[in-house]
């Protein structure tokens, strides 16, 4: 009897304590920039797609939920013809972001992806591509790569000599 009343009393006291439960969705939790949530594809400073379709994210993915096909525009710039992430399989491990050599694929602080229909968790390139550079502003892969793909000519890169004149023997 006494313990019963004691319990009721304790519970009554708790009504005046600080609330631990966050009133989601009215109240949102603070997510830091490196929080690993919904995956996006970013763009480089010129607005071009950063993804070059190198397949490294797909290879790194432990649940194999990324699938893409690389293709090329007339200037030789690689981009994905399609890029698909099956978020119903994704475990948000961030390996894809680590593997990405162009900072294209990034995980964002957003987890609100709930769906009633699992099929709706399959994201295509249109759903993934955002109009931003994401966490790594300023990086443009084709400016530092050796090949010419419409961004810079051969030898015009930051750390490149002009193309060799193969008819010359001068050192």
């Amino acid at each position: 009897m006494i313990s019963l009343l004691r319990s009721i009393g304790l519970i009554f006291l708790h009504m005046f304590r600080k609330r631990e439960t966050i009133q989601y969705p009215e109240e949102k939790v603070v997510l830091h920039p490196r929080w690993r949530g919904r995956i996006v594809l970013t763009r480089d400073p010129d607005g071009g797609e950063r993804c070059v379709g190198c397949y490294l994210c797909a290879a790194a993915c432990p649940v194999d939920c990324i699938s893409l096909q690389a293709t090329e525009d007339e200037q030789g710039r690689r981009y994905p013809a399609f890029f698909r992430i099956n978020f119903s399989r994704c475990i948000f491990c961030g390996y894809c972001e680590e593997a990405c050599p162009t900072y294209a694929i990034q995980l964002t602080p957003d987890f609100e992806m709930g769906e009633y229909n699992r099929q709706n968790l399959v994201y295509e390139k249109e759903d993934l591509l955002i109009d931003s550079q994401g966490k790594y502003p300023g990086y443009n892969y084709y400016k530092v790569a050796g090949l010419a793909a419409g961004v810079k000519g051969k030898g015009e890169g930051a750390n490149e000599e002009p193309p060799v004149d193969i008819r010359s023997l001068i050192p």
């Binding site: 190198c54 797909a58 699938s67 051969k154 010359s168």
Partner: protein, 898 residues
Amino acid sequence: MVRIYIDQKPYDVKPGKNLLETCLTLGLDLPYFCWHPAMGSVGACRQCAVKLFKDENDKTGRLVMACMEGVRDNMYLSVNDTVAHDFRSQNIEWLMSNHPHDCAVCDEGGSCHLQDMTVMTGHAYRRFRFPKRTYQNQYLGPFLHHEMNRCIQCYRCVRFYKDYAGGKDLDVFAAHNHVYFGREKDGVLENEFSGNLAEVCPTGVFTDKTLREHYTRKWDMTMAPSVCQHCSLGCNIIAGERYGALRQITNRFNGAVNGYFICDRGRYGYEFVNDPGRVRQPVIRSEKEGRNLFENLSGILTEGKLIGIGSPRASLEANFALRRLVGEAHFYQGIPENEALLLRKILAIQHSGHMYTPSLKETEYADVTLVLGEDPTNSAPRLALALRQAVRIKPLEKIAGANIPLWNDAAVREMIQDEKGELFIAYPVNTKLDEVASGTLHAAPEDIARLGFAIAHYIDDSAPEPQGMDARALESARRMADLLKRAERPLIVSGTSLFNEDIIQAAYQIGQALEKGEKKAAMCFVMPECNSAGLAMMQAPSLAMAMKAAETGNFATAVILENDLYRRAERSEIDRFLNAFKNTIVLDHQENDTARMATVLIPTATFAEGEGTLVNNEERAQRFFQVFMPKNEHIRESWRWLDEFRQFRDGTKPDELRELDNLLEELVRAMPQFKGAEMAAPLSDFRINGQRIPREPHRFSGRTAMLANVAVSEPKPPEDTDSPLSFTMEGYRGMPPAPLTPFYWSPGWNSGQSVHKYQSEAGGPLRGGDPGVRLLGGGIHFSNGFQSAIPSAFERQENEMALVPLAHIFGSDELSVLSPAVEGRAPRPYLALNSLDAERLHTAEGAVLRMRIGDQVFDLPVILKNELPEGLAGLPYNLTSLLGITWPAKGILTNTTS
């Protein structure tokens, strides 16, 4: 065996090898770039440094390049020595100082030897802060993409292209740290083996341009061991698929056949598999329209007699299934009478036991070669590459005295310079091999045969002598006879290309004459198609016989297997033949004229979508495996369709058929000449530790996403009932048996260079023996006497031209030419004439002449080939626009402009 000590451990190794190959054979990972097992060492890249000690007490030692150091008894060396290891890692660092930051967009990535070696030496971070050297790229044609920035100057490309394959238009330019590998100016790489540069180059300077159109990394492909379908040599290939399309063909090492290299027709001719115009749905054009396929078929197949037309481009299984469906008596070969006759003759020679049929590899060791009526570069390209190596055999003999090991490539080439062994080519026009030949004869097929008979006569007097030959030809014959008599490993190459029986007889006669002098001549015959030998071994009558039978036999239905009959005979004849039947069932994967005539057209699998066995020109039975399961369930192997059709004839229940294995077993039972073909690869219930062999590498990606756009629940992976391979990445990860190796991979070795792990010794045969089973056992004996009938010499006819078919590597093969890249290299139709003949016809190069062959008329532009004998005209063989010519042919030429 000699004893060497590597890092204090004793090993017994084969003498005569260099240290690098020895280390690789022993399973030690020693990085290298410029060494290639088929091309030897030059010591250009300085990568394979090891430490060599004077004796066991020497603790200092010195650095040597393992590829330039021969194995000696009691050698003490160290691979793991710190100095050697640091040297290797610094060397890579220097090589990488100019290497671009390209891996993400480089097609070599994931199968890159440079990546593998960099990781192996431990170089991970760039310390070099200075600008990188850059180059402009070149356009190199439809096969190869050029990205010169990636070059590490190992010289493998020019060594392969110029020294090994005899190419002229790729070279090294400029000097010092500016050397450039490319052409003199932009243009198509001319050599027929240029595609191998993509595999020979240790990095991504040369990459496969057709792969680029639908780029996929090596780890993402579903791969299977396969056999090339584009000529009779049966080179082994690896075919890779992704997303339901065939993506790439690479070389699959077979020490007895193609070794490390395949030709461009084989590498780039695969795109007919992805052709949007392919037959994909069954088509029913009979009067009972509206009913489904099986109801229709049961109606057609139960009534009346069937006639079956086989195909030299279909597998043994498919031809046999057809033969069983229609009955042995009603099965025909589906090739013209003359071709069937030639093949019968070749088989009789090969089975006679008198002649030695060499493997493709063995042709590389011939010291005297005679080519009668063949242009190997175009009719069997890989053989031409082998003959280019054979001409070096004779000069190489003197190397023995000079104390230079054979693997020391630069020294060997310096020593023999331009010296060539004996190769004599008799063909109506110039061939690409002429440049390495010691003698040539440009003559009509009849005269080529007469030359052969003359050679036989000079070797052995009792052979008949052709009369009235001109002095030059006689001189050549005498010289060749003398050389062949003295040769240790004489080789005679002949074949069906000119459709002349006497040439084959002459080749045989030379072999017989040599045999009398106790010498087994090696006889290599080129055949027209990938399974010509297998079909001919079934000993069925030809298409002409089928036509005759159709007139009298009251057949209700013809079943035509993967064969465009309009390529085999004149259009009117085929029309008449096909109209003789109430129904025509055509099984094919390509939409061609025969398919358009079918009342029932059934889509079949290509080599990539089904299993089968092919018999190549040396009668090696080789299995090719299904690469992927087509999404379209109508696309099934011909043999599966045909086997199931038996339910309508004799009530065999389809689910009782244990398909491929059974079919092969029954094939061997029905035709004992195929004994051994069932052993070309392990049976379908073969397992290692209870596991299948996976077609997909362990890094295969996208499993749960590639079909998620269709349905988010992943479907069950397709099951393979016909082979021990699986369509997934699960299964046995160790070394599979050689015929079942779907791709080459070994830890740390992602590129194709990992093949040495699969070999019993670096550069040697595959572990467990090279795949394929020779079917040469117990044969039909051939008469041993000399044939006395010698054809009369060719003479120019006043009113008509004799025509010779001229094979073209790109164009003469029915399927490969459907690839856009190959089609772009195919010749336009032409008529080759001697300028004297052109003058008689008042025509000139480029002008159009009208040619009438039987009922058919062709308007063709003239090109002048002055080496052609007068009265003889050359036509490109089997071009899609020049079909239905029965060879050998004669044509009447008229100048329509005058």
